[in-house]
């Protein structure tokens, strides 16, 4: 078979670099020899053995990741419940939430064979919850899970473990489901007449994660995440409105963070101070005999001061538990319509 020029060239290059003899009659031989002889910088060489120990040490410290393939998953269920074949997992999910938990605990991700089982288990869990508030919380939890799955896909694509095409394929469905779940969660939260403060907190948390993921992603995924962000922003507004109806006034940019059930922390400029209450924006905190002033006194509090408040919600009112001054500021005109300035 006649060797093509590029093959012969390759051989010439190889020999030139190795310093071996080769046929100088080749038309390119002279140039190739010159290229091969161009001096190179001496590399600052590492200590390969030390790097090797580092790698082996890191590997040794790694926890083995137990990933069950679909075959092992079926075997697990059929053995555990003494029912044969593929019917096992589906049938058992329908009858027992514990099994659904076990499926979720397998840490399946989009693209894994058993991932659809995880979704079925989540749907069943949702159907079993009657009240809107509980539904909202669960849907928020699932939306957060979808987001974490999406972030894992993005991370894999960035490290080169999967190609961009594979990432887009896996992410596409996840992003759509994220949108659906987040919207459903938000609607449920908006429908609740007295939402739990944790629901708004979870929405705010999901918002923040969506924002981060949108910054880190590109292209179609970025656009879809930004759309989802819009949906949850609107839903957060609706949920906040409901909370306001319950007696907690919150502002657009929400200096209020709801930490636990009925616990509130706030950071902002005082807009009003009286003997019985202090206000940040339109959020009013009633003072009690148990209100603790950390680095100040009630007398020293002035409008415009930047303060931190920890409070609790009781009987549709918010009470200040602890007040601290963050830093001195110029007194501001008391204007409850002024936008919050972080």
């Amino acid at each position: 078979m006649k060797r093509i020029d590029s093959d012969i060239l390759d051989e010439v290059v190889r020999r030139a670099k190795a310093g071996s003899d080769f046929d100088m009659k080749n038309e390119h031989a002279t140039l190739i020899l010159k290229l091969a002889r161009i001096p190179r910088k001496n590399l600052e060489l590492p200590q390969y053995e030390i790097i090797k120990s580092r790698i082996l040490h890191r590997i040794a410290e790694m926890r083995p990741v137990k990933k069950l393939g679909i075959k092992k998953a079926w075997n697990y269920f059929s053995q555990a419940f003494k029912i044969g074949g593929a019917i096992a997992a589906v049938g058992l999910i329908l009858t027992s939430l514990a099994v659904g938990t076990a499926v979720a605990a397998l840490q399946s991700a989009p693209g894994d064979s058993i991932y659809p089982l995880k979704k079925v288990a989540e749907n069943i869990q949702l159907k079993l919850i009657q009240d809107e508030s509980g539904k909202a919380d669960l849907q928020l939890k699932f939306a957060t899970t979808r987001l974490e799955e999406l972030q894992e896909i993005l991370a894999k694509q960035q490290t080169g473990e999967i190609s961009e095409d594979e990432a887009l394929k896996a992410a596409d469905k996840t992003v759509q489901e994220l949108k659906t779940t987040a919207t459903a969660a938000a609607s449920s939260a908006a429908n609740v007449t007295t939402p739990k403060s944790t629901t708004v907190n979870k929405l705010a948390d999901l918002n923040q994660k969506l924002r981060t993921a949108a910054i880190q992603s590109e292209g179609t995924i970025k656009v879809e995440l930004e759309k989802t962000l819009e949906t949850t922003e609107i839903s957060k507004e609706l949920a906040i409105k409901n909370l306001e109806r319950a007696g907690i006034k919150l502002e657009e940019n929400n200096p209020i963070i709801l930490d636990e059930v009925n616990q509130v922390t706030a950071h902002g400029n005082l807009v009003a101070v009286t003997e019985t209450s202090v206000s940040i924006g339109t959020a009013k905190f009633f003072l009690t005999k148990d209100t603790k002033f950390n680095n100040t006194t009630l007398k020293n509090l002035k409008v415009g001061m930047l303060i931190d408040i920890t409070g609790e919600i009781k009987d549709n009112k918010t009470y200040a538990l602890e007040i601290s001054v963050a830093k001195e500021t110029e007194p501001q005109k008391s204007d409850t319509n002024a936008p919050y300035a972080p």
Binding site: D5, I38, R40, K41, Y48, K52, I55
Partner: protein, 177 residues
């Protein structure tokens, strides 16, 4: 290490044999280090990226079928780690800018000790199409094989040989007096 030995080491490593993985590291580390070093220009950074690349390789080794696929995968991951390094360093640099850094970070040529003719050759190289310049640089100045160049440039080995042939042909015509 022969291809057969490498295959055996890969199979053992896939079953958790860390010593066998060590042998795989011995086989690939020098070339991979050079590749990374010429893109980041600093020994410590190159060492870190080299270590990270192999740690990732260990995690994913079960999914690699052949030593060839492994080699290809290693270069891809190393390249992506370099991209990430520039992104983190410069806070979300656009990908086009990062690609430029990938090619120009460190010049492997010892420019101080070039004779006139060699300078002329390098000057002429600047007039080659980018792809041809890259292949010549990888082949002659970074000592990468056609296979490795193919991984890095996402082309087939055959395509690389054709580009190399065209580059030499064009360079020769540019250098004609």
């Amino acid at each position: 290490m022969t291809e057969e030995d490498l295959n055996i080491a890969l199979l053992k490593a896939q079953k958790g044999d860390q010593l066998a993985f060590g042998l795989i590291y011995d086989h690939f580390s020098q070339k991979l280090y050079r590749f990374v070093y010429f893109r980041v220009g600093q020994k410590e950074i190159a060492e870190d990226i080299l270590a990270d690349t192999f740690v990732k390789a260990w995690v994913k080794i079960g999914q690699i079928n052949t030593p060839k696929a492994f080699s290809s995968w290693l270069y891809q991951v190393a390249k992506n780690n370099v991209i990430d390094y520039y992104r983190i360093k410069r806070e979300l640099v656009p990908l086009d800018d990062v690609v430029e850094f990938l090619e120009n970070a460190v010049n492997p040529v010892d420019e101080v000790n070039l004779n006139l003719e060699q300078r002329r050759i390098l000057k002429a190289m600047e007039n080659l199409p980018m792809e041809q310049q890259q292949v010549v640089r990888y082949k002659f100045f970074e000592d990468l094989s056609n296979e490795e160049i193919a991984y890095i440039m996402n082309k087939s080995e055959g395509a690389i040989r054709v580009i190399q042939h065209r580059a030499i042909f064009k360079l020769k015509s540019l250098l004609k007096p």
